[in-house]
C-alpha cells in the first residue's frame, strides 16, 4: 500500500492560469550538449508548445529542419569544432599512452583553451549579428516568447533573454565559469568537491588543499578565457555597471542535469530543479539481429561498449588490447566503434556503427557497460542498473567515473596503462563481484523513487515559468551584493569597531577618573 505507484498525486489546479500555447526560444550549446537539449525540445513540442532554435549556419549537430522546432539560422563563419575536439581527444590519448613531456601536455591544454575562447567569441558574434538584425529582432519581439531556454555553457541565450526581457530557464550542468552550482549556491570547498578534481565529499586535509587550488586556478582560467568576449558584448548592449556573470545568476530556473544519486549531497537553491536522467526511458525491443545476438549469449549475458560521439578512431594498439580482452570472455560483446576492425577481434564481439544504447542497457541479458563516462551514459546505466567499466577520455569524464567508483558501481581503467590483462581483470571483477551490481541496483532504486520522473519535472517547471512569467520568488538576489557584504565582513568590522571604541572610551574615562583622583590625593598631600 505504500508503493509510490499507487500514491495518489493530488495536483492542485484551482485558479492556476493556463498557458495555451507556450512559445520557447532556445539558444543551445552546439555539440554533444545538443543531444540533451533535443530531448527537452521534443517533449515541449509533444506538449503543444512551439519552439524556435537559434543555430549557427555551420552546425553539425543542430539540423536546420526538424518536425519539432523551427530554426533561426545565423550565418557565421567559424565551425569545425567537432573536428578539433575529435583530434584533441586522439592527441590526448596519444600523450597519455606515450607519456609525453609536461610541455606537450601544457601546449595541448593551451590549444584547448584557445579553442574554447574562439567558441565563445563565435557565440558573441552570433548574438551581435542577431541584435543588429532589426527585422529579425522585430519578428522575435512580435512572437512574444514566453521564455528563453538555454544551456549556459555559452552565454548567448543569457544575453538574448536579458535583452528581450524574457524569463530565462537553464538546461545546465556547466556555466561558462565551470560547474553550475558554484555559480549560485553556497559551495563550501571543505566538503563540496569541485568537479574535475576527482574528489569526494569526504576529503583529507591535502585533498581539501587540492580542491581549493583546483577551484581557484580553474575560476581564474575560465574568467580569462571567456571574460573578455562577454564583457565586450554586455557593455555594448547594457549599462556599464552590468557584470556579464550576474546575468547568468539572474536566471529564473536551473534545470540541473544531475541528481543526488550522482552528485554528492551539497547546499542547493530553491530555483534549482534536479532532472538527472531525464533522457532515460524503459527499453524498447531490440532490432532482430541484435536480439538474436543477445539471446545467443545464454546465461553469460552481454557486455556493451560505447565511448560516446567524440571519438571516432582509437589507436590500434588500444583497440587490439580491448578486443583481445573481450575475446577471452564467455560473454557476448556489442561494441559501438567506427574505426578499423581490430586484428584480435573475437567471434563473441559484434562491431556496430551505431547502437540503441538505452534499449541495450535495459535488456535483461546486459551484464556490463564499458563507457567513457559522459553523464548521459552514466545516468542510463544507473536507470537500468548496469555496472560500469570506465575508460575516461577527457573533460569531466574522469571525474564522473570517479564518483561512480566511490559508490562501488564502477571500475575505472586508465587508457595510459591499459593492456589485455588489466582490462580483462577489470571486466571480470565487475562481472563476478556481486557488489557492483547490487550497489548499482541500490542507486537505481534511489534514482527512480521520486514523486515525478525527471523529464516531467523539468516540463512542469518550464511551464511553471510560462504560467507565472518567471520564478522570482525562488531566486535570491544575493549575487548583487559585493563580497564583503555577502559575507557580513562589513558588519563584523563595524561591530568590532564599536566594541573597540566602547572599550577605549571606557578605559579613557577610567584613566581620566584615576588621574583626577591621583591629582586630588596629591593636592591633599601637598
Amino acid at each position: 500500500m505504500c508503493l509510490p505507484g499507487i500514491f495518489i498525486v493530488t495536483l492542485l489546479t484551482l485558479s492556476i492560469p493556463a498557458v495555451h500555447v507556450g512559445k520557447v526560444l532556445v539558444f543551445p550549446q552546439d555539440g554533444s550538449h545538443w543531444i540533451n537539449m533535443k530531448v527537452i525540445i521534443e517533449a515541449l513540442h509533444s506538449r503543444g508548445h512551439s519552439v524556435s532554435v537559434v543555430r549557427p549556419s555551420d552546425s553539425w549537430y543542430i539540423k536546420e529542419t526538424s518536425p519539432h522546432y523551427s530554426s533561426i539560422t545565423i550565418d557565421i563563419p567559424g565551425g569545425a569544432d567537432e573536428q578539433f575536439f575529435s583530434s584533441f581527444v586522439s592527441r590526448q590519448i596519444q600523450i597519455q599512452r606515450e607519456g609525453k613531456s609536461a610541455w606537450t601536455r601544457f601546449s595541448l591544454d593551451m590549444e584547448l583553451k584557445d579553442r574554447f575562447s574562439e567558441m565563445h567569441r563565435k557565440v558573441c558574434e552570433m548574438v551581435i549579428q542577431m541584435l543588429e538584425n532589426e527585422p529579425l529582432m522585430q519578428s522575435i519581439r512580435e512572437t512574444k516568447y514566453d521564455l528563453v531556454l538555454t544551456d549556459p555553457a555559452n552565454g548567448g541565450g543569457v544575453v538574448l533573454a536579458h535583452y528581450l526581457n524574457v524569463p530565462l530557464v537553464f538546461n545546465v550542468r556547466w556555466t561558462i565559469h565551470g560547474e553550475a552550482h558554484f555559480a549560485i549556491a553556497p559551495s563550501p570547498l571543505s566538503y563540496v568537491p569541485f568537479p574535475v578534481a576527482e574528489l569526494t565529499d569526504n576529503m583529507s586535509f591535502f585533498q581539501r588543499v587540492r580542491n581549493f587550488l583546483v577551484y581557484v586556478i580553474r575560476q581564474h582560467l575560465y574568467k580569462q578565457t571567456v571574460g573578455p568576449h562577454y564583457s565586450a558584448l554586455v557593455s555594448r548592449y547594457f549599462s556599464p555597471e552590468v557584470d556579464y556573470f550576474s546575468l547568468f545568476q539572474a536566471a529564473d530556473l536551473w534545470l540541473m542535469r544531475v541528481d543526488f544519486v550522482f552528485e554528492f549531497p551539497r547546499p542547493t537553491m530553491p530555483n534549482v530543479i534536479y532532472m538527472g536522467g531525464f533522457q532515460c526511458k524503459p527499453a524498447k525491443p531490440l532490432p532482430q539481429e541484435l536480439e538474436e545476438f543477445a539471446q545467443s549469449s545464454g546465461e553469460h549475458g552481454i557486455i556493451i561498449m560505447s565511448l560516446g560521439t567524440l571519438i571516432g578512431q582509437l589507436p590500434h594498439d588500444i583497440t587490439d588490447e580491448i578486443a583481445a580482452a573481450f575475446s577471452q570472455l564467455p560473454q557476448k560483446v556489442i561494441w559501438r566503434y567506427k574505426g578499423d576492425r581490430p586484428a584480435t577481434l573475437g567471434n563473441n564481439t559484434l562491431l556496430v556503427d551505431w547502437m540503441p544504447q538505452n534499449d541495450l542497457l535495459g535488456h535483461p541479458k546486459t551484464r556490463l557497460f564499458v563507457a567513457h563516462g559522459g553523464t548521459n551514459g552514466i545516468f542510463e546505466a544507473i536507470y537500468h542498473s548496469v555496472p560500469i567499466v570506465g575508460l575516461p577520455l577527457v573533460f569531466d569524464q574522469p571525474d564522473n567515473l570517479s564518483r561512480m567508483k566511490v559508490k562501488g558501481v564502477a571500475k575505472v581503467v586508465d587508457l595510459a596503462t591499459l593492456d589485455r590483462n588489466i582490462f580483462t581483470r577489470a571486466l571480470q571483477e565487475v562481472l563476478n563481484e556481486p557488489s557492483y551490481r547490487m550497489n548499482m541496483q541500490r542507486l537505481s532504486r534511489l534514482h527512480r523513487d521520486v514523486p515525478m520522473g525527471p523529464l516531467d519535472t523539468a516540463l512542469f517547471w518550464i511551464e511553471f515559468v510560462m504560467r507565472h512569467k518567471g520564478a522570482a520568488h525562488l531566486r535570491t538576489e544575493s549575487y548583487r551584493m559585493p563580497w564583503y557584504s555577502y559575507h557580513s565582513v562589513d558588519v563584523m568590522v563595524f561591530l568590532l569597531a564599536v566594541v573597540l571604541f566602547t572599550l577605549l572610551a571606557f578605559i579613557g574615562i577610567i584613566r581620566c577618573f584615576c588621574c583626577r583622583a591621583c591629582l586630588k590625593i596629591k593636592m591633599k598631600a601637598e
Copy 2:
C-alpha cells in the same frame, strides 16, 4: 494544454521495494505544535501505517486514546504549560498596552526562558524514564519501528532515534536552537533574515547589523537555555565526544512547515522537503447557522477573526475597541472568542467558541481574516486567497506577519496602540484596496502550483525513508567538521604559509646571492 491538472505524472515504480505496513514512532512537541503533527499522523494512519505516540501523562493536547495511534504514556510530573503560556500572553499584552518598564519586560522574558528550560528538563526526564524502563524498551525494540517522526522543538525524539538506531524524520520549523534551516543549511546573514528579527531578504546596512546581533544573541540564549539538559542526557547514554546538537543535524529528512511563498528565497539542502500548507484543504460546506449568517452579508461579505488557541481572554479595553470597529463596517463578522462579550459588540458580529476556520476561509463570501499570525492560519489564508489584518501577540507571530506585510497581503496593527479608529482604518484599507486581494491571489497561485500537494509530498518522503531505511544520500555530514575546516580556514592558513615560506626562501637566496656577488666585487676591488 499546459494545465498541471492534466500533467501526466509518471511514477517510476520499477523495482522499488514495497513497505507493506510501516511502523512509526512519534515523539511530538506538546502544545499547539501537536495540531500539525496530528495532521500527519492521521494521514499516515489512513495509508495503513501504524503509529505510536509518546506523550506525557499530563498532556492537555495529546489524548491517550485515539483511533489514529496508540499511546506510550510516560508518567511525569510537571505540566500546566498551557496555563503558563496563556497567562504569559496576557501579561505580554498588558505590558505592551501599559508601556511598562524595560525591567518588567526583561523579567517576563527571563520567566519565559526559565519555563522553556523547565520544559526541556521535563522532556529529558521523559526520555530517561523511557530508556531506563527495560520492559518498555524491549517492547519498542521488538516492534522494529521503521522510523522516528519528531518535532525537534524538543530533543526527545532525536535522542530516542539515535539510541534505537532508527531513521529520523523531522516535522519542523524550529529546532531547540531556533529556526531550522540555520541548523543545517548555509545561512548567510547578509540576506537570510533570522526569524523573529522581523527583517526581509533585502536589508540595509543597519538591518544587517541587527540581523547579525539578533542571531548571535539568540544562539547564545538557546544554547544556555537547553544545552545543559541535553548535554547531560546525551553524555549519560552516548560516548562523551557526541555533541547533542549533531544528533539533530544527522536527521535523515527535514519536512519543513514552510515554502517559498512564505519564506524568502535562501540556500537549502537536498534533505529538506517543503510542506508548507500541508494542513490546508478545500473548504467543506458550513454548518447551516454559519452559512445563513454568511449569506446574510450580501455583497459586502464576511470578516473572520481568530487569535489562535493560546489566548483565552483579551483585556476588555481591547475587545471593546475591536468590537466597536467591527460594528462600524457593512460586513458581517465571525469572531472566535471565549472571553466576556464586549460591551460595544455590534449586530453584525457573531461571537463563537469555535469555528471551522478552513471552511470559513474557503467560503466565497470571506473578504478578510483578522489573525494573530501563527503559520497555520497564514497558510490557510494563502491557500484560500484571503488577505490579512494581523494582530500579532507573541513568539514568531510578529515575524510571520511582517513577511506577509512585505508581500503586500497583510496590514499589521500593534496591540499596544490599537483603538477603534486605527483598527477600522486597517480593516477598511485591506477591504477596499484591491492590491491586498490581488497579491494574495498571486501568492495562492504560486503556493498551489506544485507537482504534488504538500501533504502528499510529506507522505511520499516519509515512506521513502521507510523504503530505503533512511536517506543518507541526501544528507551531508559536514556538521561533523570543526568550524575552521568547514570554512577552509586551515587550508588558507596552510597555503598562506607555503606562499610566505617560498617568498622568504626566494628572498633569502637572492640575498645570499647578492652578498656573495658583493663580496666578490669587494675582493676584486681590494
